[in-house]
Each structure stands twice: as C-alpha cells, then as structure tokens.
Symmetry: C2
Subunit: 194 residues, 2 copies
C-alpha cells in the first residue's frame, strides 16, 4: 500500500486523512498501549500510507500528544519540575501544575482530557498511557523513586484541580497559587524526595 486508500463515503482531502489518523491513533493507543501501537498499524487502521502519518505528525510521540489533545509539551512541563534542587521539587511541581491549569487558554483542553478519562474507556486508556509513559516511567527512572510515590503525587494534584476547577468547591476554588503551594509542596516533597 503506497498511496492512501480510503473507505467509500468519506470526505476526500488531507484534512480528512489527518482526522482519520487521529481517530485511529486514539483507538490503537487506547487498545494496545503506546508501545504496541505502531505507526504502521495506525496507518492501516486509518487506511492511509504510513508516510502520511510522519508527514502530518512527525514522530510517534508527537502523534500521541496530538491524539490526546494535550495542550502543552509534556517535556517542557516536566523540564520545569525537574530543573533545580531536589529539595524544592515539591514546590516546583505544585507551582508548575497550578500554573498550566490556571491558564484560561489551556484549561478547556485539560478539562476535556479529564472528562473524557472519567467517562469513556478510550479516554481513560489514553490518560493511563500518558501518565504511565510520560510521568511514572520516565520521571521515576530519573528520580530513582518507586512509581507509586509519583502516582500519589500525581493523584494529589489531579484531586486539587478537580476540586478547584471542575467541582469548584470553596475555599479551594478561590485559593491563590501561593496558598496552595504552601499547603501542597510538603506533601509532594515527601513523595518525591525518595
């Protein structure tokens, strides 16, 4: 298969192929996990040539981020958390996490990922893959920590943004970044100190 082949009835053109690839990526990353969902298999599912996947999305990593609709580059986010003394990593994690959620341009996409994970198996599978690959495995290796400690830290911050931005419970909803960092940083520090 060297040229894109398409099911009858679909709209032609590159924007449709792009959407087909994203839809196929969501299915296969969700069903098989990141490692076992090959570009070749995603291309087959989308009925396009694998070269077109690379053309639209570059690497598999970038395709995964696009399929999740993750609004920031996770490596930039993680870079900010990791860069600096280990003794302040809890504070950096709390602050970085709260800042990206407080940005009104980014929040709708985070809320979308959260909702989709809470309500659909595919959304849950994508978030599971993302947390496992991007946070637990990579960061746990770098920091030489048990993955369960990182999961507890991630759980603390996910619960905070759920209460603050989705359920909107007071006084969490109107707590400032500094108040929350003061409260949460020692928790994260204990999980991340090792």
């Amino acid at each position: 298969m060297t040229a894109p082949t398409r099911r009858p009835g679909r709209r032609p053109g590159p924007s449709s192929s792009r959407d087909d690839i994203l839809a196929a990526a969501r299915v296969l990353f969700g069903e098989r996990g990141y490692d076992k969902a090959s570009i070749r298999a995603i291309a087959r599912e989308a009925r396009v040539d694998p070269a077109l996947v690379h053309h639209f999305f570059g690497s598999k990593e970038e395709l995964f981020a696009a399929a999740m609709e993750f609004p920031v580059d996770p490596s930039v986010f993680l870079g900010q958390v990791m860069a600096g003394p280990r003794a302040q990593i809890g504070e950096r994690m709390a602050r970085t996490f709260l800042r990206i959620w407080s940005d009104p341009r980014l929040r709708p996409q985070f809320v979308g990922i959260f909702r989709s994970a809470a309500t659909t198996e595919q959304g849950a599978a994508l978030l599971r893959e993302f947390i496992t690959r991007t946070i637990l495995t990579r960061v746990a290796d770098t920091l030489d920590l048990p993955p369960l400690n990182l999961a507890a830290a991630a759980a603390q911050m996910m619960g905070v943004v759920m209460l603050k931005y989705i359920v909107q419970v007071e006084p969490m909803a109107s707590a400032t970044e500094d108040e929350l960092v003061a409260l949460l940083a020692p928790t994260l520090q204990r999980y991340l100190e090792g």
Copy 2:
C-alpha cells in the same frame, strides 16, 4: 396546594411522584445549594404536596443523600474517621475511604457521582454541596481546622480513587490497602492535625 397536582402526560402513581421529587431535588440543590433549596420549593418544582416529600424521604438531609445516590450514610463514614485518637486520624481517613471504594457493591455509585460531577454542571453542583456541607463545614468545625486543609485531604483521596479505579494506572491500580495507607496517611495526618 394540599393534594399532589401533576402535569398532564406524566405517568401517575407514587413511584412517579418519587422520581419527580428526586429530579426536582437535584435541580434545586444544584442551583440554589442545600440551605436555600427548601422542601417546599422542591415540592413545588415536583408539583407534589410537601407532605409527600417527607413521606418518601423523611428529612431534607435524607432527601439530599437520595438525590446524590450516595451509597453509604456519610455520618457513619465520618464517624469512623473521627472516632479515635487525633494522632491517627490520617490513617483512619485513608483506610475508611479506600474500604468503601473497594466494595464492589458501592463502587458503581461512587463512580457515577464522580462521572456526573466531571461532566455535568448539575452533578458538579451536587458534589460541591455535598463536600461543602458534609465534609468541609462539619468536619472543619469539629476538628477546628482551616477548610482548605480538609479540601487538600479530600483532593488527595479523590485523586487516588480516580487513578486507581477510573483511569486504572499501575502501580496504583493493584496497590494494596496497606501500601496505600502507609503512603497516604502521613499526608492526610499533616493536613488534619492542625
């Protein structure tokens, strides 16, 4: 209005009135909050006599729990957390929370409350009311703690059950109660110690 009056086209009979009352309660508790949603206003919205609300549900508190479909009596749950030395309250909160979520008869209803809060404004408003009234206000008063500390503790446990039972991320998904209590109890203890 002394006798139930009903809109034309609805099914007659007590089970329909009961459902109408629950639907009206969800709307008014969500829109106005617990305190301002009177039994009288809920009865008016449901087009039934207020006496019928008391007949089906007893107190306003019980009506609220029924409207949330909360599967355990919150005062029993909170009683287990509060009963015992303050120095172990973090451990009791972690264990009680994990136990009720691990019960396969209760979990579907908790997951339903969680999903509804993540996806609908009414679900979020009901959970907001529940957390505010049942956890933050009551427990913060009893323990003489800033409500933000309690919200941080609730956020930690909500994030854990989201990762464990909804996103099902490893190693959180298969972590035992004892492993999680060992990891989480010191966090909760710090928030709840005051």
